[in-house]
């Protein structure tokens, strides 16, 4: 017994030794920056404690011209936040609706085809995201490739650039792989015997999907949603380039404050965004555990 324990302790000791570089890395590049963000968020220019930056996020107001021409006063950053959330949510939904069937088809394909498809999905990720966004500008411009093609087949030009649609297209394109890959990897690993068991117990194909495949793929769906929603809610470049700067998003706000050297307020916005996202993720995790896995 004692020997066993000592062996175990030794093993654990060896394990943590092996993990040391990784732990140091995490500490240095993940934890320390987070602490700095929090520190800046709660201090003023003289590094004295203050909650002013946080309050400013919720109370700052500005005038906004509504569609009917009336001018109303709104809470600046809350409006920006809600706009970011809306565009990010739409993009995530589009990614999910397109990504799940794609991942499903990939997981069912022959092994060779699967490898090719994964590579095809990864290739755009090797390119810089600024370049990809610029590419979409040339496609979506009023005199761009898309309208050129439409003109060739005799369809009227459409105006996309500078609309919310353009921003959503950009986000979907950039983050689509992050939705497909986690779902695909879970579907590809799924035990085929479970599907046979479901059929054996009376399920037709639709029912096998509804009762076995989809519930079991939920962890992939959740990590896909997380990996698309979080970067798209805080993105700042896509909206500037594809939205012609008309859709000021929370990421743009952070960038703007940072460039204007308002480090403390920029940190405060980032901090609030982080807290809200963490709370959302915790809620999603709790709910899926509750509703799908019966409290496990």
């Amino acid at each position: 017994m004692t020997m066993q324990t000592s062996v175990k302790t030794k093993k654990r000791g060896g394990m943590s030794l092996a993990l040391a570089p990784y732990s140091a890395w995490s500490l240095l590049f993940i934890l320390v920056p987070l602490i700095f963000v929090a520190y800046y968020a709660f201090t003023d220019d003289n590094f004295a404690f203050t909650t002013e930056n946080i309050t400013r996020f919720f109370t700052a107001t500005s005038e906004l011209k509504a569609d009917d021409g009336t001018i109303g006063e709104v809470r600046t950053y809350l409006v920006i936040f809600m706009r970011s959330l809306k565009l990010a949510a739409i993009s995530t939904l589009v990614c999910l609706l397109m990504g799940y069937p794609m991942a499903y088809i990939m997981a069912r394909a022959k092994v060779r085809t699967q490898k090719t498809l994964v590579t095809l999905i990864m290739i755009p990720m090797w390119m810089n995201f600024l370049i990809r966004t610029y590419a979409w500008m040339t496609i979506l411009q009023d005199t761009g490739i898309l309208n050129g093609l439409l003109g060739l087949v005799g369809i009227d030009k459409i105006h996309i650039i500078g609309t919310e649609t353009a921003v959503v297209i950009g986000m979907v394109y950039d983050y689509f792989p992050y939705m497909i890959l986690p779902i695909y990897s879970i579907l590809a690993k799924m035990d085929g015997k479970l599907l046979e068991a479901a059929r054996d117990l009376g399920c037709n194909s639709v029912s096998v999907f509804k009762r076995v495949i989809f519930p079991l793929s939920l962890p992939g769906v959740i990590s896909g949603i997380t990996m698309v929603l979080i970067p798209s809610i805080s993105t700042f470049y896509i909206s500037q380039k594809l939205g012609n700067g008309k859709f000021f998003l929370i990421g743009d706000a952070i960038e703007g404050q940072y460039i204007a050297n308002n480090l403390h307020f920029a940190a405060a916005i980032a901090f609030i965004l982080m807290v809200i996202l963490l709370a959302c993720m915790a809620l999603v995790k709790y709910l899926t555990a509750r509703l799908v896995y019966g409290g496990e």
Binding site: D191, K193, L194, E196, A197, A198, R199, D200, L201, G202, C203, N204, S207, R211, V212, P215, L216, V292, Y293, G294, E296
Partner: protein, 370 residues
């Protein structure tokens, strides 16, 4: 007896390799039938065909006299206990068992009653709310059985269901399965490579090798009257010696002529002679029919396993007598210890213990089919 399932001249090939070769088999109502054979003999493919997961290249499958070749699995009144149970990890024990009932939209109250009854049949009443991943192998096994039985299928298919359990648990589950089969009256089609399991549980055993049925019979038939050298070797231990049938009830082998109980062979026909190791008597040299030198003795607990070299052929003898290596011993065979088989393509492949060792036997014991 009523036929539940008939397989008629079934053949199936995968990638050019013939897995089932013109198989015909009748399965009767309320029967515990075992498909027994080594890995790759086609037994699992046959089971999957009855379940609807494979389709025959030619031949017909009949269920209650109706052809079901193209009926999908979910429309067959047949359920399966899978080799590694295939329980749904996202559902708890209760929901796993209730799974087929929910599919049929059975009223909630009825589901609760049925599932509770089924869980008590497999002795898991207190585990209803547990996650299936937290259960031991034996408990998971019971959940799989309960889930497969809850629709009260006409036939239950079991694909090496005890393979993953340890010896003690396996013995208990064998008893329990047999009991469940008797209480429910459902036809069980059981696949295994374990001959002991097959002998102790089955009403009927189907011995298979290389995609062909070698013999169908009751456990005693199969053990006492094996049809060829493959069956004799696969079921229990056998000494299989080349012999010549002199006339009815008289056979000659190892340079001696013996009385036997077999008849109906041609005079002078070459035959395979089977002698089970436990049927060999060790006698004083002066009374011996055959004599030989002991080459190995293994103590097995209840008996000794003695390998003796008789005229260059190594016999296995299981006896409570003892002997030492290099002893010269005599043996005697009663007429009912001798079983005569026609020559087959398996003749000469089995039944000689020259290269025998216990370890080797265990190593070559297949751990289930892929």
């Amino acid at each position: 007896m009523k036929k539940v399932i008939e397989l008629k001249n079934i053949s199936k090939a995968f990638g050019g390799e013939l897995i089932l070769d013109d198989i015909s088999l009748d399965i009767y109502d309320n029967e515990f039938i075992t498909l027994l054979g080594p890995s790759g003999c086609g037994k699992t493919t046959m089971l999957r065909m009855i379940g609807g997961f494979e389709h025959p290249d030619c031949g017909d499958i009949l269920f209650m006299n109706e052809k079901i070749n193209d009926v999908p699995p979910h429309k067959r009144n047949v359920n399966t206990v899978f080799q590694k149970y295939a329980l749904f990890p996202h559902l708890n024990v209760f929901e796993n068992v209730a799974f087929p009932l929910r599919e049929r939209k059975v009223p909630k109250k009825e589901i609760r009653e049925k599932v509770e009854k089924m869980l008590s049949l497999v002795m898991l009443s207190n585990f209803a709310e547990r996650s299936v991943t937290s259960l031991s192998g034996g408990q998971q096994q019971r959940v799989a059985i309960a889930r497969a039985l809850i629709n009260h299928p006409k036939v239950l298919l079991l694909d090496e269901p005890l393979g993953a359990l340890d010896l003690k648990l396996r013995k208990d589950m064998q008893q329990e399965l047999k009991k469940i089969q008797k209480t429910t009256g459902i036809t069980f089609v059981f696949v295994t490579h374990d001959q002991e399991e097959a002998l102790s549980m089955s009403d009927t055993i189907v011995v298979m090798s290389e995609g062909k049925i070698q013999q169908i019979g009751t456990p005693t038939d199969i053990y006492n009257e094996p049809q060829n050298a493959f069956v004799a070797d696969f079921i229990g231990e056998s000494n299989i010696i080349d012999g010549v049938m002199l006339e009815n009830y008289r056979v000659s082998f190892s340079g001696h002529t013996f009385q036997c109980l077999d008849a109906g062979f041609a005079q002078g026909e070459q035959v395979d002679v089977v002698v089970r190791p436990e049927d060999v008597d060790i006698v004083p040299l002066e009374n011996a029919m055959l004599q030989g030198v002991v080459t190995a003795v293994t103590f097995m607990g209840v008996h000794n396993e003695i390998i003796v070299d008789i005229g260059g052929f190594k016999w296995m003898i299981q006896t409570t007598d003892s002997a030492s290596v290099d002893d010269r011993i005599g043996i005697s065979l009663d007429p009912d210890a001798i079983h005569i088989m026609k020559k087959s393509k398996y003749s000469g492949m089995f039944g000689d213990y020259s290269s025998y060792s216990n370890e080797l036997d265990e190593l070559s014991d297949p751990g289930g089919e892929a």
